[in-house]
C-alpha cells in the first residue's frame, strides 16, 4: 500500500487525497499540535517530584514525558499539552503549579 501520509497537507489536490479520508499511517495525532489550544499551563518542579508517576497515566494527551531508559519523568510536552490541569490535581507532592499560559 502506498503511504500517502506526506500528501495530507492543506494544499492537496482531490486527485491525490486518500479515498474517503482514510489515514494510512498510525500515530499521526502527534503531527497535530494541540498545545496552542491551552489557556492554563502546568509547570513541573523537578526538585519536588518524587517520581511516583501518578501524573503519567492520567494525562489525556500523553504529554507527561518519561525517559524510556531511566523510566523517570523528565518534563511536559508543551506541543501537545492542552492545559487541562489533571496532572496538577493528581500530584500528591505539590510538584506542579497551574498558571495562566504564556
Amino acid at each position: 500500500m502506498s503511504n500517502k501520509y506526506d500528501i495530507v497537507k492543506p494544499n492537496v489536490k482531490w486527485q491525490d487525497i486518500t479515498e474517503g479520508g482514510i489515514m494510512e499511517q498510525p500515530g499521526n495525532a502527534k503531527q497535530f499540535n494541540t498545545g496552542d489550544w491551552r489557556s492554563m499551563m502546568p509547570v513541573w518542579h523537578e526538585e519536588k517530584c518524587k517520581q511516583c508517576l501518578l501524573c503519567y497515566p492520567v494525562c489525556p494527551d500523553a504529554s507527561v514525558m518519561v525517559d524510556k531508559e531511566t523510566g523517570k519523568m523528565i518534563g511536559i510536552d508543551y506541543e501537545h499539552c492542552k492545559g487541562c490541569g489533571v496532572c496538577t490535581k493528581t500530584c500528591p507532592f505539590g510538584a506542579y503549579d497551574f498558571v495562566e499560559n504564556k
Binding site: 495530507v8 482531490w14 474517503g20 479520508g21 489515514m23 494510512e24 498510525p26
Partner: protein
Amino acid sequence: MSIRERLSGNEAVATAMKQINPDVVAAFPITPSTEIPQYFSSFVANGQVDTEFVAVESEHSAMSACIGASAAGARAMTATSSNGMSLMWEMLYIAASSRLPIVMNLVNRTVSGPLNIHNDHSDSMGARDSGWIQIYSETNQEAYDNFLMANRIAEHKDVRLPVMICQDGFITSHAIENIELVEDDKVKAFVGEYKAPWALLDANHPVSVGPLDLQAHHYEHKRQQAEAMKNAKKVIQEVAAEFEKMTGRKYDLIEKYMMDDAEIAIVVLNSTAGTAKYVVNQLREKGIKAGLVKPRVFRPFPVDEIADALKNCKAVAVMDKADSLNAASGPLFAEVTSAMFVKGVTSPKVINYIYGLGGRDVKADDIETVYNRLSDIVKTGNVGEVYNYLSVRE
C-alpha cells in the same frame, strides 16, 4: 444450463445473496423487505452460507454494522424499505463518503406518512443525493440480475461506492414470477472474491477510517466522490456487458422500448414500465407511435442517454412515483427535463404525472390516459398543466 424457477422478488434477491455468500449481512425487518433477511437467516441456520448474520436492533444499527464490517474488509449487505431506510439516513451518507462498497436491496415502499406500507418511490428518491448508486428493477428477474451485478460495480477500484438495488414493494417483492437463475459456480466466478484495498483488520497496514474532515480537505473528498459517481456509468455498462455474455440478458443505463420512431413517450421507473409496455403494444396496433424510456440507473443519472432517447419525440410524460412537494414536479421530471435542456433537446413538450403514491394501483387504462393526453398535446400544441396527479379522485 440456467435454472428455471418461480420466485417472488424477495426470494430472488435472497437467493442472489445466498449465491454471493457475503461475509456479513446485518438487517432489521420491515415490510415489505422483511422476507429477505428472513429467508437469508434460514440459509445461515442451515449452513448454506458462511455469512455472519447480525440481527441488529434497528436499521440505523444495520447500516452501522455494514459500515463497520465493510471498513474491516468484509463484503457486507443489507435489505430494507421505507422508514427503515429513513432511520439509516445519516449512515447512508457516511457509507458513501467513506467509500464503502456496501450492497443494499431497497424494496421500495412509501415513507410514512400518512402511515402506509405499500409501494412508491419516496424512500429511494429521498436518498437520491446520499451518494449511493441506484439501480431500478422492473421484474423479479431484473431484481435478481441487478443484485448479482451490484458487487462488481460497488467494489470496482474506480467506483468504491455503495449500491442500492431497488424493486417495487409487494408488486415485485411479493409477486411470484418465472425466473432464470444463474448456477452457483457461475455466480461465484462472476462476482469473485472481495479484496479490500485497505481494511481495519489488516494489522500490518493500520488505517484510520472516518476522521474529522474540515475545511481543508472535506471539499476535495466530495469532489473525489463526484468523480467516483461519474466513473460508475462506464463500470455499470462494462459489468452489464460481461453479465450479458454469461446469461444472454442485456442491460444498459436506460431501456428504450419502441423508441426508434416514437412521437410520444413515457419515462417511468421500475414495475410500472411493464404495464406501460403493454399499453405501448396496444397503441402500436392502432398505429400510434408510442414509446417508453425506462431509466434502469438513476444514480449516476444517464443525462446523455435520456436526452438522446427523447430528442425526436413530440411530447413526453415523465411519471414520478414520488412527489417532491415543491409545487412544481416530481424528482424524475426535474432531472429528465434538466438533462434534455442541457443537451439542447428543447423541442418535445414535456409534462409530469405523479402516480401510484402509497401503492395506489396503476392500471393499463391509467397509463393509456397519459398517452392520450400526449397525443392531444401533439395535435393541439397546447401543453396545459405540467404538474399532474394521475387518476386521483377529484
